[in-house]
Amino acid sequence: MLSIPAAVSVATTGQTRLVGVPDGPCQVVLQNNDSANFVTIGDSGVTAGHGFVLSGGKTLSFTTYPGSRGMILYAVANTAAVDVSILISTPQ
């Protein structure tokens, strides 16, 4: 099924809880809605220098394997708060 949580405003300080990824299999799509600023995605200790960079306006999509455990992703913005849209697709 398709789940679209409310967009998350990622702050420039600390680590903002971005999304709870359910147990696999699932597909998660993250979209940086701010064309001018990037966010860095990672675990609870993510910092601007250590994580996966999602550039302005870009989309990240990944699929987890059946049986994989869920996880929580966090993010931090670089210079201004950034809205990130989320889409989660799971088997019916």
Binding site: L2, I4, A6, Q27, S89, T90, P91, Q92
Partner: protein, 160 residues
């Protein structure tokens, strides 16, 4: 198999999987942002798909899309002096030239809100417009009106 689906300001079905698990690539082939989601999707709750952007989705259930709402966008300004009904110019303190010939402007004035069209020759403090229906007080805000005409999504479905 590819198909093109028109998306309006009322949510409509753009993709229905033919098998339990079906992958679909959705491409926004229109010129404005469309929003993906379930049957009750709105511009506020959907996943935004920008013009030209594509998204590849797996594990699909029915996917709906909706266009954004009509909106007031930049440039915006406010009257620096009241204007009478049938008036043909808006007076502002500055930045009147941001309003160009042919631009449709929404005057935000409650039940007296209305649309007018900008004429040629705007100056920093004077914006010629088509004749107003209502009078408006100083301080009334206005801005460019953007009508959302919907768009199209091209759907490429692949069974897995």
């Amino acid at each position: 198999m590819a198909s093109t689906v028109a998306v309006a300001t009322v949510a409509g079905l753009v993709f229905a999987p033919q098998q339990h698990s079906t992958t679909a690539t959705l491409v926004n082939t229109g010129t404005s942002t469309l929003y993906l989601g379930q049957s009750a999707v709105t511009a506020a709750t959907g996943f935004p798909l920008q013009p030209g952007q594509s998204i590849n989705l797996t594990f699909n259930t029915d996917i709906y899309a909706v266009a954004g709402n009509d909106s007031v966008i930049s440039p915006t300004n406010a009257l620096s002096a009241g204007v009478s009904a049938a008036g043909t110019a808006l007076t502002v303190t500055a930045n009147g030239t941001n309003f160009t010939n042919g631009m449709v402007v929404s005057i935000e004035d409650g039940v007296k809100s209305e649309l007018v069209t900008v004429g040629a020759g705007a100056t920093g403090t004077n914006i010629p417009v088509s004749a107003l229906v209502f009078a408006h007080n100083s301080g009334t805000t206005f801005g460019q009106f953007q009508r959302h005409n919907g768009g199209t999504i091209q759907v490429h479905a692949q069974g897995v």
